[in-house]
Amino acid sequence: MSTSSETTAPAAAVPAPTSAPRLTGATAPGARLRFDAAVLGRPGAPVLHDVTLDVRPGEILTVVGPSGCGKSTLLRTLAGLLAPLAGSVEQDGRPLTGPSADRALVFQEDALLPWRTLRGNVELPLAIQGVPRSGRREQAGSWLARVGLDAQAKQLPHRVSGGQRQRAQLARALAGSPRAVLMDEPFGALDAQTRSGMQDLLVEVLRGTGATVVFVTHDVDEALFLGDRVALLAAGRVASVRDVPRPRDRGALDDPARVALRRAVLSSLGT
C-alpha cells in the first residue's frame, strides 16, 4: 500500500468499486482458488505434481520459478483452459469446469485483438456480458483513463508501444470485473523501467477491485514487491509458499526480513 494519494476520480464510474482495503475478508469479492493434490499439464504430459495450494480471497499470490517449470500451466489450469489431470481445482469450493468471466487472464503479450482499437478491446468483455453499447463505451473509457491510455483509445494495438499494449490488456481484464485476475508474466517483455512503472500501476488499479490475483513471473524482485505471498515452483512441484513482509512497499527493499526472504528464494531456485 505505497501511495494512497491517487484514488482517482474515474474510479467512480467503475462498476461496483469496493473501497475496502485488500485482505479484509468479509466484503471482498475476490475468489478463493484451491488446488488439492492436483497434477497439472497437458494430457499425457504432466508438468506439475501434487499441487496443493490455497489462494485466499483478495490476496496477491505471486508464483516464481525457472522457465519451463510449469508456471503457465498452473495459471492456465486456474483459467479453466486446461483441466487438472488428477486431483481437484476449485473456485469457492466448486470444481472448475472451464473458462469463465470470473477469472480473467492477462497474457505475456499480443493477446489484444489486432483488428480492434484499444477501446474496442476493452469493450469486448463488457459486450460479452451484455452491457449495452453506451455503457460499454463509458466503462471502457474510464478503464483506459485509469491505466493512462485515454489518448490512445482509438489506436490499433500494433500502433502503440509494448507497455501500452500491456496496460490495455490490464484494462481489458479488469473491465469485466472479474473476481480473480490471472497474470502470466505480463511485464516479462518490458524493459526494467517500464516494468517497475507497470507494477506501480497494477497496484494502483487493483486497489478497490478486491479481486484475487495470481501473478506468475520469473523475476524474484517483482514477485516480492507485488505478492502478499510468494509460491516457489521447482522440480515439478510447489516447493514452498512464503509470506512476504511489507508487500507493495518500495521502501521495504532494505528490510532485513525481505532481504532474507529474497536470499532464501534465490537459493531455492538455484541461482
Binding site: 483452459l81 487472464l105 497474457f107 469486448l124
Partner: protein, 312 residues
C-alpha cells in the same frame, strides 16, 4: 523517376498504350516472322467493331447476363466457401465427414462439370451459375480453412476467459482474424470464376460475353472475337479490383511494413530537390504529405499507405 501516385497512374497508362501500339504496329504492317500477324485484326479494326457493338443492344444484354451469372455464382461461393471452410477447420467431425468428398471433387476442373450441370439443372442459366460457383468455391474454402487454422490461439483463449462462447469466438475472433486469408481466396476465386463463366457460356450459353465471342469466331468475325476478349479482360480487371479494394478496406488493421514504395525516397530526396524548379507540383504535394506524416504520425501514415495500396 517520379513516385507520385499520379505519376504511377501515368506510368501504368503508358504501359497499356505501348502494348496497344505494338499490337497496331505488328498487325498494320502484316508482320509474318514465324508468328503470323497478317490475319490479325488491327487495333483500329477492333475499335470500330467495338464502337459498332456499343450502340447495339445485344452487347449490353451479353454484359448484364455474364455479370449476373458470375456475381450469383461468386457470391454463393464466397458465403458457402467461408462457411464450409470454417466448419472443416473448427470441427473434427465436419472434417471427417466433408473432407474426403471435398478433396475428391476439388481436383475436377469446374468446366469439366458441364455435363453434370446439364444433367442436374433444369435450365442452362442455373448450370452456368453452378459451374461458376464450383470454380470459386474451392479456392475460398481452402484459403479459409488455412486462415482459420493459422489463427493465433491466444486470441481465442482471451475471449474464452472473458466468458465468450462458441458464437462469440466465431464472430469476434475467427472471422475477423481469418479475413486476410479469406480475401486471398476470394481474389483467386473471382479470377477462376471468370474463366469458367466464359468457358461455360461458350459451351452451353445463350447470350453472354463468352457465347458472343464464340459465335463471332464461328462466323469468322475476328474483330468481334477481339471485342469479346477485351470486354472479358476489362470486366475481369474491374471485378477483381473491387474484391481487392474491399479486402484492403476490411483488413486495414493489418500491421503493414513501414516501407512504402517510394515513401522512403520521397522523404530522403525532397530536401535535396528543393531548389530544382522542375517538378514543382510533385514537390509541393509531396512536401505537405511529409509534414502531415510528421505531425500526426499515426493516421497520416496510414492514409498515405492506404492510398498507395489502392493503386491496384
Amino acid at each position: 523517376m517520379t513516385r507520385h501516385p499520379l505519376g504511377r497512374y501515368a506510368l501504368r497508362l503508358v504501359a497499356l498504350l505501348t502494348a496497344l501500339g505494338l499490337w497496331q504496329l505488328l498487325t498494320a504492317l502484316d508482320v509474318d516472322i514465324w508468328l503470323r500477324f497478317s490475319q490479325f485484326p488491327t487495333v483500329t479494326d477492333v475499335t470500330h467493331a467495338f464502337a459498332g457493338r456499343l450502340t447495339g443492344s445485344d452487347y449490353w444484354t451479353d454484359l448484364t447476363d455474364s455479370l449476373t451469372r458470375i456475381l450469383s455464382g461468386f457470391l454463393l461461393a464466397a458465403v458457402l466457401g467461408v462457411a464450409v471452410g470454417v466448419l472443416v477447420a473448427r470441427s473434427r467431425l465436419a472434417e471427417d465427414l466433408l473432407g474426403p468428398v471435398l478433396e475428391v471433387v476439388r481436383p475436377i476442373p469446374a468446366i469439366a462439370l458441364v455435363p453434370v450441370a446439364i444433367l442436374l439443372f433444369p435450365s442452362n442459366e442455373q448450370g452456368i451459375v453452378f459451374i461458376t460457383f464450383t470454380a470459386a468455391f474451392f479456392p475460398v474454402l481452402v484459403s479459409t480453412r488455412h486462415a482459420v487454422r493459422a489463427l493465433t490461439p491466444v486470441w481465442e483463449e482471451a475471449v474464452r476467459t472473458m466468458g465468450g462462447g462458441r458464437w462469440r469466438i466465431l464472430g469476434s475472433v475467427v472471422l475477423p482474424g481469418a479475413l486476410p486469408g479469406i480475401f486471398g481466396g476470394l481474389s483467386v476465386g473471382i479470377g477462376v470464376s471468370w474463366i469458367c463463366v466464359i468457358s461455360a457460356e461458350m459451351i452451353s450459353g445463350q447470350y453472354g460475353v463468352g457465347y458472343r465471342t464464340w459465335q463471332d469466331y464461328t462466323v469468322v468475325d475476328y474483330p468481334g472475337v477481339f471485342v469479346g476478349m477485351v470486354t472479358i479482360g476489362v470486366l475481369g480487371w474491374v471485378t477483381s479490383t473491387a474484391v481487392e479494394l474491399l479486402g484492403r478496406r476490411l483488413t486495414r488493421w493489418l500491421p503493414r511494413t513501414s516501407y512504402v514504395p517510394g515513401g522512403r525516397s520521397r522523404s530522403a530526396v525532397l530536401p535535396a530537390t528543393a531548389p530544382v524548379p522542375g517538378p514543382v507540383v510533385v514537390k509541393a504535394e509531396g512536401d505537405s504529405q511529409y509534414q502531415s506524416d510528421a505531425q500526426q504520425q499515426g493516421s497520416g501514415e496510414t492514409e498515405q499507405e492506404a492510398r498507395d495500396e489502392h493503386l491496384v
